[in-house]
Every structure is written in C-alpha cells, then in structure tokens.
Symmetry: C2
Subunit: 637 residues, 2 copies
C-alpha cells in the first residue's frame, strides 16, 4: 500500500502564485485534503467527513485571516486531521507529526493542549464557546485586542452548554469572539434534521444576542466576505454559519443534500478508508491538484511517500478461543432487540451514538420505542428517568466518558427518584486509545459506584454481556451501569461458563498458587492471562480471576477466590475509585483474614495516553509484559 502526501514546502508555488486568491486557496485546500486523508489512512481511524467539510474554512483561516495575537480553535475537534494538515501547511506543525496521527508520541485523535498551536482540548462537544469566553475575558483584563475565533459543529449545537455560553458571551459584550459553524447538516452518520433538528438556527442564535451571517463554506469569496464582515463588526459577538458538505472534495465521499431521509447513513464519518477507496480518493485529489496548479500556471507539487502506519494490535491469550464474532456493543444491541420482543416496557434512548453503541438495529426495528436526544446527554438521562417513573424500563446508551460525566447530576437525580434506568457506557476503559483522553474513560466507575441502588458491572465477554443486559432488564431491582468495550475483544473468554455469576462474585479463569490477578473486561483479562503465562516462566504461579461486579463484593467469595497470596487488581480505570477500592475496603476490614493478601492496584495512572492499543497498554504498564514485571518486582530480589 503506497501512501502519498505533499510536503508543505511544495505548497509555496500555489500559495504565492500570480492568480486570484480564491484559486490559490482552492489549490491549497485540495493539498490539505490529500494530507489529511493520508494521515487518517495511516492512523487506521479518523474523521474524514467533517475534516473535509471544514477544511476550506481551516485553509482560509490559517492562510489568510489569522493574525498575530489571534486565537483559533475548533470546538468540535473531530476535524483534527483537516486542521492538522492546514497547520502543517503553514509551518505550525511538522508534516511528519501530522502523519503520526493517533500514535503514542504523535498527534492525538482530537486536538489536545500540548500540541503546538492548540489552545483547547476537545473531543467532547459543547465546551468551546465557554472557553472562548474565558480567553476573551482574560484578554480584556490585559487590554489585549486579539480576536478569538472558534469553529463549531452543527450537531455540537445540540449540547446545552452552548446556550449558557452564547448568553454569557453576549452579556459580557465580548465582540472579539468570532464563531464559524461548519454547517454540514450531518452529525455522525445521519442528518441533523433527522436526529434532533436545530430548527431555525439563525433565529436561535440571534435570539441569544449574536449577529448572525451566512455563507457558502466552500466558496472562498463568500467565506472571505463573511469573515471580513465579522471582523469589522465590533457591536457584539459574531457568528458565521458556513454551509458545507460533509466529505467535500472527494466525489464519492460527498454527502447528498439533506432530503430529510431518516434512513440515510453517511459512510465516511469516522474510520479509515479501505485500500481501494483510499487509492480512488487520492487519485481524484492528485488529479485536482494538477488541474488547479495548471490553472495557477505553476508546477504541480511532487508527491512524497509515507510508510504505511503499523497500528499495534492486541494479541489474544493462548488460553482464549480466538476473537468472538461480535463486539460486546453489538451483542448488547442484539440482546436488546431480542428482549424487546417480549418486554413491551423496554425502551432505548440515544444521544447520537446509536451506531457505535450497537443500538441501530433496535432503532430500526422498534422506532416507536427509540428516543433520540441528539448530542444532549443530560436531556437523554432525565428523559429516561421520567420514562422509568411512568413504568417503562429505559436503556440509555452513550460513550462512558460522556454519559457518566456530562449527565452525572441527572443520573444522581434519577437515583433520588428511585428510577430504575439501565445505563450503557460504551468505550469504557483506556481502549480504543486513538481518539484521545476525551473519549477514553478511566473515571466512570468512580463516578457511578457510590450511587444509591446502582450496580456497576463490566462484562468480560459477549456471552456475559448478553446475560448481564438480560439480568439488568428482567431481574435487577436496582439501576445498572454496564461499562463496555467498544472494540472487538482480543479473545473470547469463558467468563460466565455457567450463566451469570452471583452479584458480588466473580469467576476463576485460570488457577495458580502464589498470587491472584483480579481484573475485568476482555482487554485486561486477556493481558492478565498472558501475564500469568509469562510469570510461570519465572516459576510464579498466578491465578486469574474475572470480576464483573465493580461496586459489589461478596467478602466470603473474595477471600475464597484469592487464597493466601498477594492480590493484584488490574484495573481498566484509574487506580482511584475502581474495583481496587472495593477490594481494598474488603481486605482492610478483615486484616486477620487478609494477612497474606497484600493488595496492589495496577490501574491507568494520570491522563489516558493516546495511541494504538498495545502501545497504550504498555505506556500505562498494564500490558502482560509490564504486569509480569510489576508482579516480579514486588517479590523482592
């Protein structure tokens, strides 16, 4: 597989060509698209659609509009590959760095502070306007007159925090804040209008005290005029709605105009293109680069070759049975569909992640029992609580980091009302790690474990996930938070050989005499089994125990399960607030029983690192090799 990019040095002829600005910018934007696409291909994942819809705006901003002292950031952050490519074109980043997208030590999947030129960490939506407010207030205090430019997504405008900040910024009179909306009309893979319509967006924004303008986001003349008008207007905060096309610039990636078809699924929101699609797209972009350079009467740039990315993979344990046919998300989704047949009270609520969370089939098969809030987790959770109060059994799906943190107070309020709600937090734990810390969830157990009448659990296998969701819907009298791995498990573990283990009790996966490794979730259980194999080569006999229940421990089961040696809790979570804390209280409350059970909690310390699966596990010291070393190091010289 040959990967191509254009060195930023080769942008100079087009940039300085003797031609209309709009034509020069078009040529630069096409080259930026090519580099962004190669970065995504090399990373193995990334957001093509919104990188391409916004790249003309990025190109204009970095090439023309941003002046010394201005600040600019994208609040949505999905468009990082496009933004990075444009930053490399003007020398803020190196192209090598851009091509190292989503790797440890490379550029994160969503912009993060620490990268040159990045002033805001994004990836979770709706915070950007408040950050712009803070930057503008700070500058007012220092009588600094730079502008604060922010790019917003359209789907992002569903988050309630935007409306807090729109009001605050207007009331603070921060006219240096200039916002552009990449209005591509598709959020994730469906039309915004079908997910949760923004309605009359201009009226909404005007009502919040902003001056609203509108322009074709792919017409550099119109965009330039829009920015010029915004920049010249000091009457208050300004917003430019840029009408764009998702996937713009590669014919077969361009979204069809919004015809309101709720079944439309846009194919290029996230993920890397297949080889043949990459090649077709590059061919098209290279052809356009040539044509555009001809139009500028300058030589087209040479293509440089990039080595293919080598994403690190998770290798299954020898004890496993090979990867299961389905992800855990998909297994949960299938089971919900099956449960819906006999359980008319079962409902599913979504915050625009139905596909990733395996809930699309439920939506399609049970449209009257599927409710969409758009990117508005708080609304979803409070709506679910009220549905539960009316006798239904609502299931809320989202990514763990968004669901448990953004809607935490709403979840608490539901427990106060005694509502039974099933929360499914996909993307729990440190993997996949390529999207960066906004998406990785190593705090969610801590955020949920202390809730009244709420069980926190993570299945170690697809089979266990099925059993758990069935138990949660049919049997549990308490709310249940199921944290789930979203990527394919490395192996199919037998974590529930005889059905679901009783609440508070786990299952021994492999026996041993010297010590116990206690873990949960397919990824770290798999690493634990591999660590056991490695330890046996050092003459250490470790048992591996799967513990799906994360805030309920049956003390008798635990003492029985761990025998007499040390206990290593291998935690796909911060070492604070996870299973290790529950084990710790159990052990510490009975020192006479735990005399030989020294506890070691090996968790994800600090911020979760961005990168490929294995390299990130290694970075945090929770891959098999590191665990083996860490265990050995506790055994003295």
């Amino acid at each position: 597989m040959n990967l191509s990019f254009i060195d930023p040095k080769a942008f100079t002829p087009a940039r300085n060509g003797n031609a209309l600005l709009t034509d020069r910018l078009s040529a630069l934007a096409t080259m930026n698209r090519l580099n962004a696409l190669t970065a995504i291909k090399r990373a193995g994942s990334g957001h093509i659609g919104s990188s391409f819809s916004s790249i003309d705006i990025f190109t204009l901003l970095y090439e023309q509009r941003l002046k010394e002292g201005d600040v600019f950031f994208s609040s949505k952050g999905h468009d990082a590959p496009g933004q990075y490519a444009c930053m490399a074109a003007v020398g803020i980043l190196s192209i090598e760095n851009v091509l190292d997208l989503r790797r440890l030590g490379g550029l994160p999947g969503h912009p993060e502070v620490g990268t040159p030129g990045v002033v805001a960490s994004t990836g979770s939506l709706g915070m950007g306007l408040s950050k712009a407010r803070g930057i503008a207030l700070a500058r007012n205090l220092r009588a600094h007159d730079g502008r604060v430019f922010v790019m917003l997504g359209d789907g992002e405008l569903q988050e309630g925090q935007n409306y807090e900040a729109l009001r605050s910024i207007a009331n603070d009179g921060l006219s240096q804040v200039k916002v552009v909306v990449d209005y591509n009309k598709i959020q994730s893979d469906k039309y915004v209008r079908c997910i949760n319509d923004l309605g009359d967006i201009e009226a909404k924004l005007s009502a919040f005290g902003w001056t609203v303008r509108r322009a074709d986001g792919h017409d550099f003349d119109a965009l330039t005029a829009g920015f010029e008008a915004m920049e010249a207007d000091h009457s208050g905060p300004q917003i430019l709605i840029a009408d764009t096309v998702k996937g713009r610039g590669v014919s077969f990636m361009e979204a069809a105009p919004d015809d309101g078809d709720p079944t439309m699924v846009y194919a290029w929101h996230s993920g890397a293109p297949k080889d043949e699609d990459y090649e077709r797209a590059i061919d098209e972009l290279v052809q356009r680069v040539r044509t555009e350079h001809e139009g500028l009467s300058v030589e087209p740039p040479e293509l440089s070759s990039a080595a293919p990315g080598k994403p690190s993979k998770l290798t299954p344990s020898a004890d496993g049975k090979g990867a299961p046919p389905l992800t855990i998300a998909k297994a949960i989704g299938e089971e919900l569909v099956a449960l819906a047949e006999t359980r008319s009270e079962l409902l599913v609520l979504d915050a625009d992640l139905a596909d990733d969370c395996g809930l699309r089939d439920f939506e399609n098969l049970q449209p009257r029992r599927f409710f969409e809030s758009g990117i508005a987790e708080q609304d979803m959770v409070s709506t679910a609580g009220a549905l539960a109060g009316q006798g239904f059994t609502p299931v809320c799906g989202s990514f763990a980091s968004f669901l448990c943190a953004r809607a935490n107070e709403q979840i608490y309020n539901n427990t106060c009302e005694g509502r039974k709600v099933i929360y499914i937090g996909q993307y729990a734990g440190v993997l996949p790690a390529a999207a960066g810390y906004s998406h990785q969830s190593t705090r969610d157990i801590a955020l949920m474990a202390q809730l009244d009448k709420t069980v926190v659990v993570q299945p170690g296998s697809a089979a266990e996930a099925r059993a758990l969701i069935r138990w949660a819907v049919e049997s549990s009298e308490e709310s249940v938070y199921i944290r789930s791995l979203i990527i394919p498990p490395p192996t199919d573990l037998e974590t529930s050989p005889s059905g679901l283990s009783p609440v508070g009790c786990g299952v021994q996966l492999a026996d041993g005499n010297d010590l116990t490794i206690l873990s949960y979730g397919p990824v770290l259980l798999n690493e634990a089994l591999k660590a056991r194999a490695a330890l046996s080569e050092h003459g250490v006999s470790a048992r591996v125990v799967s513990m799906p229940w994360l805030n309920r421990i049956d003390a008798d089961w635990l003492f029985d399960a761990i025998g007499e040696g040390p206990v290593f809790v291998l935690e796909d979570h911060s070492p604070i607030g996870g299973l290790g804390d529950r084990v710790a209280q159990t052990l510490a409350s009975a020192p006479e029983r735990a005399a030989g059970n020294a506890l070691h909690v090996l968790g994800i310390e600090g911020l979760p690192a961005c990168g490929q699966p294995h390299e990130v596990l290694q970075f945090h010291g929770v891959d098999a090799e590191s665990v083996c070393e860490r265990v050995l190091s506790t055994r003295g010289s």
Copy 2:
C-alpha cells in the same frame, strides 16, 4: 412565639362562595401564603420569595386547571412551601405534614418523589423540561391524553439543559407539554438581568419552536386566559410567561420592580423570617384574609395555632472552644479578598451563589475580577479553565453537589488541559440537611478524587480553611478542590495548630490507646470528639485524628497516627469513594503493618436524609452516640 395557620377545612367557604372566581382564588391564595409562611417559620428555613411569587399560579392550577390524568410539577422546586400549602388546601397533603417542613419524616425542603402528588425530585435546576418530555413520551406510547404542566423559574432558564429539552420536546411534537414560567425577575437575591440577562426571553423560546404567551402572574383573569389558550392549543408545546413579583403578598417582602441596579439585594430569598417579621407578615395576611372574605360575603376562617418548630441543633464538643466567629465559607471569602490585594492573577467565578459561598465581598471589591455565569455551572467551569490557560488563577465557587456533578466533564477537561483551577464546593457533606438530597453532597469526593493533578481537601476549621485557600492559590501546583461546610461549625477546632499539615498528613486532635477515629470537616470531627468522650465512659480510649487531605495519604504518617488498634473512618460522604477508600488501599497494601488495624468506614449510606442537623446525623448513624455504639458493637460482647 405564636404560630398560626388555617386549616384546609376552613378554605371551603371561600372556595364555594357566591362570588367571582378571581376573588375566590385571591382569598384562597392569601390563605395559602399564610400557611406557607408558617411552615417556613416553623422549619427555620425555606424560600419565601419564590413561594410567594408563584403561589397564585399554584393556587389556580390546583384549584381550577388540573384535571384527572394531568401531571404537574415545579422544576425549580424552591417554591415547595407554597406548592405544599396549595396541595394541602385541596387535600393532596395534610396540613400537619406541610407544617413539618424540612424535618425528618416531614416534607423535604424541595419536592421529592415519595411525597403524595409529587412526580419529580427537584432542587437542582434545569431538569424539569426533560422530565416533562419523558412523561409525555410515555403517555404517547400508552395513548394517554393527560397534559403535562411544568413550572419553571426564570433564573433556572440559565441552565443549558433547558435548551436541549426545549428542542427535543418541539421536535417530538409534544403538544401536551404546557409550561409556565414564574418570571419574578430575581434569582436568589439579585436581578436576573444583572446576574446573567435572559435577554429577549420570548424570542428565545419562540426560536426553539414553542408557542409563547404572556400574562400577569398575579391577575387570576389574565392567568386563566393564558392557561385556557395554552390548553386549547395543540399545535406544539406551549409556554406561558407569567410576570410575577418576588415576595408578592406581604408588602415588605415584595421586590421592587427591576431597575437594573446591580447592588440590589433581595432580602427574602431563603431563610426563615425573624419573629417580629413573621408577626408583621401574618398580621398583614390575616387582615387581607378578613377583607377578602368580607368581599366574598363569607365568614373569615379561624386561625389555628401550631407549636413552634424545634430544630435540632449541633452541640459542640467539650474539647472545642465554642463556635468560631465566621462560617468557613466566610473565612474563605475573606481570605480571597486579602489574597486579591497582592495576587493580581486571582479571579473568582460564580454561578449565582456568591452570597451563600461567601464570595460577595470579593465581587464588590474586585468587580473586574469577578465573573458571573448565572445558574450555568458548565459555562463557569470551562470559562475558568480558559482563564487559567491565559495565566490567571481562577476560583470557581458553587455548591458541591452542583459543581462536581453538573460540571464534571468540564472539570475533567480542565485537568486534561493541565489548567490549575481552584474549585470550592460549599454545602459539602450531609449538613445542612433541610434542603434535601439535591443540595446535600455525599458523592463529591468520589467525583473529584481520581482527577489528574487535583487535590481534594476539606478544612476542619476556619483557620485551616484560610491556610488551605492561601496554599491553593500561592503554592499548590495542582488544582485543588476544597469542600466546605456552609453552616456555622459547632465548635472551633484546632486542626492546624502549627500551620497547614503537610499534604497527605493529618493532625491528632485527642489522644487515645485503643482505636482511632479518623474524620474530616468540623461537623463529624466534633461528633468524633464527643464519641471519644462517650467511649471513655465505657473504658475505651479512642484517639481522634483530623485528616483534611481526602485523596492523598502519606502511608508512614497514617501508620504512625493510627497506632495498633482498629481504625474508624467517620465519613461525611458515601462510604464508597471517600477518605475510607484511600485509607483502605493504604492499609490493604501493607497487611504486615496493618495487622491490628481493622478498618470500619462509617459514612452516609443511601440517599442523604432531609431534616434538622442532629436528627439527620443520628438517622445516618454518624452522630456521637451512634458512633460510640457502633464502635462498641465491633468490640464483641
């Protein structure tokens, strides 16, 4: 002190009088005001201002508009005394229950599910519309045609979640949702317009797809017409903005019309009236009841007498020095004012709780360095992060339960960006307990303890609070979350006799040989000292150790501090996720050192109970007597 109320049976003549409906409703509303005021006086706290601004609407709804099958709840919930009085008038609640406001076993300070006729637990703002959505969706599934009425506050409309739900409800076409806004123009104690202006509220709500109407909220004819129009309109969701006056109905409690004076402080937002104010108000209300009944040509009702409330108090320990001159909130506020003199980078951010959080002086003395988001914690926290990124040291104040839960993802994002922000969570812990579980905070340590580079700490005294805030501003390289008691501490403990104890280390308050009680915060440290005295009468010698650091433990200090006996962590927090977990990991990781240190975590289990201070501590088994008993019970027969 003579407390008066009117028995609901005595409402009948006015209700059934041969007179205009508007006059009958006025008389009923006046009697409801009288009962609400007496409930607040008896409870020792409550929200007079918004009870009185909304009571005409409540009266109209309960007396006239609500039909079988309708649902109604107040989203703001501050108006509970007014709502309860109106519910008692129509027989949903007993008047005895209403007069037992804010007592254990009585009615909670904000409406809570479990009380007859209450369908939503409130007290935290902005969730009501999403709940209305859930109820309406549930009813659509069952082809149930009742209406869903919701009362919103005006300050409440600052919360972003409203705009998520406004959009969702409009998109779902839920025309059975009928909202009334108690638009009294004052939030807490200042004009909404001065805190964070709602701007053109009608334009905003219309832009979200709602039909907006407006009426005088104290004119029963206008209100009735407004409701009739809403009820007859099935074109989509409906909202009625009711222009009201905060404190309406008692001349000296009525707010002045909004003149935009930012220094105006409304005196009757929360708290009970003093005896003489209560008597003046009752005299005025009784006089009006008589006049109105005369107008109806019916006998005025007899007044009934209620026994005065006997709020349970916290009694100081014999070891203490008497109560300190200031609350901890006030001490922190004073110290911030002092720090501002020399630290020009110090800023304070507020979400409409400046007064309660002791930050009003800072606002008045440093207006350029004080930023107000209104009731919009997410905006406040993200703004603070951005200010930190620009080199400032921002301090965010709010109530712990709102700050740590509502803005949790924003706080995490700030840590991701490496921003040093100082978060002050007032109202932390189980006390004061009278406002109910929405305000009590027994989860905040769990929500914050695992954050990267964030220290969680609670001062045990005003002196320690001063030292801590100074350390947080001047010395800490990490973010600091200071949880704080908002009520006057029962006693002035010497928790920092020689300055602040090192991070991870606490201070022994009283010595002992048999066991250790480890605690934090003035309330439970005080109970611990009293428990020690009680234990000594049983021949048990307990040492009491104050541990302000809640997510940092110096293991050597701990083992030194606890000696050889059992350890009781007395936790003003859930037993999950608090200091007990940190102690547990420390002990469990070194079983050879902890052989005699059996751990017992005594925390607030389940939902925090509503009531007066001592009765709630007792309910949760964390008052001195319960602790003494629980300690003795672990020592065998």
